[in-house]
Symmetry: C2
Subunit: 507 residues, 2 copies
């Protein structure tokens, strides 16, 4: 059937068009079904929704969508619409549900159809769940990774020694990328780092870097700056690198699950697409991270290494301590400031931050063949000020202002100190509660919001000491954070005697 296009200023979750209910029924469809929209040059798969009064019969409402469809049709143009039957890839998903191994073509078809908006959320969820319950073997995971790489753009560089790092996440305050990238770039290797924004955390690396400079770079800019300076820290969402991975992550996030084959493919696809040859993977271990037990961390490390061999990537993994925040700052501006300060002076910075950043940079320098003593080399880059200088160059190349001192970086001016109620020591630090408080205070949207820890796990405190300070940009968000701290204290101070039985009080 033919339709006249009407522009609809909505941005829905998936690529969508709106039709009059009578036309939907004439086409034999129900709301949520897929159609192929065709104009004189292009075609695109869209979900159909029903517009009850907005559209006359014969009119098609074209929504703005961030989906994979790059079709542009103008108001008043004519397009043709065809119902689309269920793609074969749904049968392949059902095959996996029964536990059978998929063929290469079948895995590729599923990933391609996700990229082409041929599969809806129900079907994509079924795929993720099938992988959760039935697992994928190394063949299937490799095919999935390769198909994900092919689903988007790829980058190549002038020099061969392209390296990268990735943290699988879960630890608050993990701003090490802002140290690792300048150390590596100052050492003469290429590190085109793309990072994500916070989804459930208080600040993603892209959010933290955005405090200092622009992070929305396209592939050409990433390529140019990396070739010239050795590194960038860009927001991955502004590129079209392995876009199918991002669609799958949306589903995983809703269920907070991350089946291993998906975790492997996700990371390897992003690294493969940017042409990295040597990659260090940071696997934080501890309560509240993706790896609560060290045994699972070792298993993952093994799998990453094997998958790397299949894909021609040289992989090294490091299991890191994830039981409490890295450094003391949580939230975009506080973290940016802490990272900048560590580049200014390693000696006045938290050891957990510099030790981890240097450790990971060292492994990159070693596995890429740059040096046999990575730690000394990395420390030299910090101590000599070369890493700081490189960081300033990268900030300016990405479009940011010149920053002289870390203290110039503005943080929230509404603050609240949380006080130790008794003498004792910090018996528990709850990562997830710290994140929730920082988010309640406004992070990551309010860049200056977050938490600064004056005390960390194991430290001794006196009643009245400041445990941590909450920063906010807005008074009401600060109150919201304070309310949350009262309900769920993120730091617990206790003496050695926790409880005493029987519980009658001695008067």
């Amino acid at each position: 059937m033919k339709f006249i296009v009407r522009d609809i200023p909505l941005k829905l979750m998936s690529a969508s068009v709106m039709l009059n209910p009578d036309d939907v029924s004439e086409l034999g469809l129900v709301s949520g079904d897929r159609v192929k929209v065709v104009d004189h040059k292009k075609s695109c798969i869209k979900d159909v929704h029903i517009a009850t009064e907005m559209l006359k019969r014969g009119e098609l409402g074209f929504c703005k969508t961030s989906g994979p469809c790059d079709m542009h049709v103008a108001e008043g143009e004519t397009v043709e619409v065809f119902p689309v039957s269920r793609p074969n890839s749904v049968d392949f998903i059902k095959k996996k549900m029964t536990g059978k191994k998929l063929e290469r073509d079948e895995v590729t078809a599923i990933i391609r159809d996700i990229g082409d908006n041929m599969l809806n959320e129900v079907e994509i969820t079924a795929f993720v769940m099938a992988n959760y319950f039935q697992d994928l073997d190394f063949d299937e995971t490799e095919w999935m990774t390769r198909a994900m790489i092919e689903s988007g753009e790829k980058i190549s560089f002038d020099r061969d020694t392209v390296v990268d790092k990735h943290s699988i996440g879960g630890v608050p305050g993990n701003k090490i990328t802002l140290l690792v990238v300048p150390i590596i770039a100052a050492s003469g290797l290429l590190i085109p780092k793309t990072s994500s924004r916070a989804i459930t955390s208080a600040s993603g690396t892209a959010d933290t870097m955005e405090v200092l400079t622009n992070v929305t770079l396209d592939i050409k800019e990433i390529q140019e700056i990396t070739n010239r300076l050795g590194g960038v820290i860009a927001w991955g969402g502004s590129t079209n690198i392995a876009p199918v991975d991002d669609i799958i992550i949306q589903v995983e996030r809703r269920l907070s699950i991350d089946p291993k084959p998906q975790l492997l493919a996700s990371i390897m696809a992003k690294k493969g697409a940017i042409g990295a040859k040597h990659v260090v993977i940071d696997i934080p271990v501890g309560e509240g991270t993706k790896v609560p037990e060290i045994e699972y961390g070792r298993e993952l490390a093994n799998d990453f290494t094997r998958m790397g061999q299949r894909l021609g990537l040289n992989i090294a993994c490091v299991l890191t301590y994830g039981g409490q925040p890295v450094g003391r700052a949580i939230g975009p501006a506080l973290e940016a400031r802490e990272a900048f300060m560590a580049l200014e002076s390693i000696s006045s910075s938290p050891k957990s931050l510099t030790e981890k950043a240097v450790g990971i940079a060292a492994r990159l320098l070693e596995i890429s063949g740059k040096t046999r003593n990575g730690t000394d080399h990395a420390l030299k880059m910090l101590d000599s000020g070369k890493a700081l200088e490189k960081f300033r160059e990268i900030i300016e190349a990405q479009g940011g202002p010149s920053i002289q001192k870390s203290s110039e970086i503005p943080i929230g001016d509404k603050t609240f100190d949380v006080i130790a109620p008794i003498d004792g020591s910090i018996a528990r630090v709850e990562n997830s509660r710290l994140v929730r408080v920082a988010r309640a205070a406004g992070a990551p949207r309010d860049r200056g919001a977050g938490i600064f820890l004056h005390k960390k796990g194991g430290h001794h405190v006196k009643a009245g000491d400041v445990l941590f300070t909450v920063y906010a940009e807005k008074e009401w968000k600060l109150s919201q954070a304070i309310g949350m701290i009262e309900r769920e204290p993120p730091l617990v101070v206790s003496g050695m005697i926790l409880e005493s039985f029987p519980t009658e009080r001695i008067l």
Copy 2:
């Protein structure tokens, strides 16, 4: 945050509101997240979508939705919006994913949250998939059934002997409800039958009945007509009986799966909510139905009976032949006409139709204690014309016209005869191809479209005999159906020698 309501004439898949992108971000949300919308009297959970230009900051676009929210707000009214955190029921779904047995409260919370739009499609799919992979035991299935009943309205009747029937589906042409209901009602029992419309079939019972009369009845009308005449045939979708079941079925349909606990709960909840005491369940067995193997049919029959005991329902199951269509007609008007004709004269009707309808009516009469010889009793209702008279009364009570003869029922005037190419016999009848051809011809939307089978499986044919006739209301749909028949013939005629080897032709 407070917002001014703007009416948006859209009907999306789920209960939704639209906000300006800056407000979405200010609330710390992304598209697809849930919010609680509160006005002075009510509150409701909605999905958030982004309106790029349509709405100013501080405005909230309220969409028309068929969702479970019955909040009505007027243009210009003020509402307040709160982000909603992930409900506990997601944790219970994840518990089921790990294979643990759920508590009663946990099952109830999941079903209640689905009904309250607290769970999105990803989470509901995860629940269905968890049941597919991990199964539910009888306790969990019973709790799910009871929670589904509580999710909607319930009906009660003047008399105690309320009976019902249900076909689990998959066979084309299964119009037996149009015979069973008048037979039972004429016998003095109550049978308040709610039926579905076609989703993937050529005609649902509600579509077939709608050819003759109105089927959109509310609960009061169902109650009143059943009390007065003994029975109705209404569209279940117009009532609010076990609405959560319909939401879950939407997900299952996308994946064409139907995990057993869901199948059991779905049917039992619908029957429980309308207050049925005695229920016969028709389990068609055969290729292309939900029960390809008779062993699974027996297992289901057993499970239905046990679940009935737990819920206080007296259940009888019949396994029926589902290898080819019931009767000869497929499509709403053709089926309505065939059913009406069977009520007029049992002897000139297809034996597959009358034998099945009488068999199921007979079991209902027996298990409800009405008679010990149900078959004789049911046949008497047909032969005496009492069932036909009752059917006419029901049609008129539901708002339909008086129908004197079956031949008055109009069918499609565009027809095409499919001819036997050779002498032989009907070696194969493909249910699913017949359905696709009937749908291509316009069924169920075009009421007069469908197929009439002149020959069925096993019949002998001569070259040139008419195998079946396709009916349509529109020429282009008839052509579409003819094209499909050429690609995928639904009836296969062959001689006894199927193939001969070696395959060189003898010249």
